[in-house]
Symmetry: D2
Subunit: 138 residues, 4 copies
């Protein structure tokens, strides 16, 4: 049985996400990634409030987005987020596609590391709470 | 001698503040007001970090903006903020104008009240720390 | 038979809408109002793309928000938008409330006027296209 | 004589850029990059309005940010942007550092390609207008 560490959300861009070219400004995709990431982590009971309660902040330390197609107003998009690394850092890969045609629009990843809220020190290995929540072995 | 409780900043809108009509999206003016308000309060040593250290949060409870003219990319604007009430609540009036022509673009106000960070209770009279910082009598 | 010119949406604030007090930053409510307004106008076939196609931009000229309660992460909120004026200007009233308890969190309005995209002149009476779409008499 | 295709700006983060950890939310760095990029391109007379007038949009097709340190309220930061590719695509490298200590906070790049506004086709070689403005040979 394979472990499914992915989650998919759908949304339509807001008017305030559009730029003068009448397409979504590239920086707003970072918000879409976050919405998908939070929905994914929430599914495992380890979204922002639970992270904080577990004593760790999980800042993004690396993020890359490759834009293939533009997103317009009224266009329904699908954002799939999947956890692909959890041992020393939390890596999530994203695929944004058109919800109707399935056409790829954006490919991205984010990498987070655990930082102890108390000591403000970065952890070089992910804390066990992550593995417990995800149901994975390190 | 008259007391000057005002401060003026200047800025040019960022590209990411523009909407499909090639003008600043109306919601971003709220950020411009905040930049002017923080600069004003900072002048009196009572910006966000000092508010927090004094034991009070100062949430906005009322805000109104009247838009007279549009703001375009490359247009230099001036935001004047002035404290006009400080007894029971902190009211700041704003005037946004074109920095070159002086033409009025927006008139706004914000009203904040003190909330004790410890008790989460709203204060019905502004705490004396505000008056001390502003150099005013209640 | 009474005419229903209202629409209600529900949402949960995004993590990127939170401020250092762990509540939604007051300026982001303007986005929530817009989401409800666009959903309402879309229901009548007169959202942003149809406005543009009809030859009019509808800039916000007046906006007021009164904040009664704070919004936290994970809190489901309901935003009700209702068109209350359509003769000379388009006025929409909003009520934001907690989706579970029904407690009021914010009361707001926005006022828009029609501006001809071709002449850039403001219309002192709303163009008939608005009334046709809403199914109202001026 | 070496060609200098770089530009540096300084800024302090706005209160509305802070997240619940009291640091700048990672997505807002994209805005800082854009401010530095626009200032750089403006220096060469090829910022957004001139791009549009030259018949080209220059969408971001690839963007990467590596976060080394956090940015706090009141912290003055320096963003250096430098054009490092201009033949087939426009690549800009960024370094964000603390303006006082010089400590590195973020390293990033963006890659843009020219898209003809008329044909909506991507150009596989940068249009000569870019080279003319930058004063470079392809």
């Amino acid at each position: 049985m394979s472990l499914d560490l992915s989650h998919t959300i759908e949304l339509e861009p807001a008017f305030h996400d559009l730029d003068p070219m009448d397409i979504v400004w590239h920086g707003h995709y970072v918000k879409y990634l976050e919405l998908a990431r939070c929905a994914l982590l929430s599914r495992f009971g380890y979204d922002y409030p639970q992270m904080r309660d577990s004593g760790y902040a999980w800042p993004i330390v690396d993020m890359r987005l490759k834009y293939v197609g533009m997103v317009s107003y009224g266009q329904r998009i699908r954002i799939r987020a999947e956890i692909t690394e959890w041992e020393n850092r939390l890596r999530i890969d994203y695929l944004i596609s058109d919800a109707v045609s399935g056409r790829r629009l954006n490919k991205a990843y984010t990498i987070q590391v655990a930082v102890s809220i108390e000591t403000r020190q970065m952890e070089y290995v992910c804390p066990p709470v992550l593995w417990q929540r995800l149901g994975v072995a390190p």
